[in-house]
Symmetry: C2
Subunit: 188 residues, 2 copies
């Protein structure tokens, strides 16, 4: 079938993780929804998060030099969505979640989330409309109820993904195969 | 429940997109599996992909100044996994897929993939064990069979996600809600 060329300016749909990036802004915990993020270095462990240049949280991350990344389960989908709709500039999000702290004073984390990371800012890359923040993971936090055999269990985490520009949330569905394994036999 | 502190060196499970990054290496198309990638800038559209420093494809991307990102559907999961297991150094992957090219000569793309992007390298960020390549999307390509009403349809794309370190592939599952909408009523 013929390939259709799409414009370079659109947002293209593929499944993205949905996370809440936390920072202390004006002495209060604030969270914004971020789907443009990825692990970017193996050792030390570094995550990259891309924030629009006008984000309310942006100056605080730069000033504090720390931020958090929490991954919500489906039970927190509405709250996570709320954090993506309303800016901290107009909405106090400090009471949306139960907060805890790890080693970094200004990196508030969300008790209800199955996985939280506290990150130390190690590099800022200024792009045209976004800033890319590279944060080294200082520690991560989970709970027994999200684990199986001492390890985080994606099914118990009740994870979901986001696609844009259709703007939909999707449950992480059926298990389809083992990675770094199921393709081993091909052309072997 | 008590938070359990996890070490900073582990890989933590959350759903990641799985893509095939393509480049022309020694005059042949080569593809490697990459889950550490994200959109990082809105305008112009820029994607970031993180590759281990020892990746076979790495010098070619730097030399050519271009690369591609293709998102496979579930029907290509084994081939995608194969590309993640075997290095181009030892395995010729040039016949795994049907190849097409867009505007960039050294950015081979995969006909079978529902979504392909050709990218021009705009920035390289050298980290400790990985290089982060920022590529501006020059154009993206799809096919009618993956679209509904002229737009890419994630269900027809048959998308899947990867989790590590458990190393599993998961289907993108049930629709759970509308993004930038379902949280609107909270505390409104």
């Amino acid at each position: 079938m013929e390939k259709i060329k799409l414009g370079p300016k659109a947002v293209y749909p593929y499944p993205m993780p949905m996370a809440l990036v936390g920072a202390t802004v004006d002495k209060k915990p604030n969270f914004l929804a971020v789907a443009w993020l990825s692990r970017v270095n193996m050792t030390p462990p570094i995550m990259a998060v891309s924030l629009g240049r006008k984000s309310y949280t942006l100056p605080a991350i730069e000033k504090n030099g720390v931020f958090s990344i929490c991954f919500p389960g489906i039970d927190l989908m509405e709250e996570a969505d709320f954090c993506g709709i309303y800016s901290g500039l107009e909405t106090d999000k400090s009471n949306l979640f139960n907060i805890f702290f790890g080693q970094l004073e200004a990196a508030p984390m969300i008790k209800e989330c199955p996985l939280c990371m506290e990150c130390k800012l190690v590099q800022t890359i200024e792009l045209q409309t976004n800033n890319l923040y590279l944060g080294e993971i200082v520690a991560a936090y989970a709970e027994e109820r999200f684990m199986t055999g001492g390890k985080l269990d994606i099914s118990k985490m009740n994870a979901f993904v986001l696609t844009m520009p259709d703007n939909n949330y999707w449950k992480v569905g059926h298990h389809m195969g083992k990675a770094w394994d199921m393709g081993r036999h091909l052309f072997g």
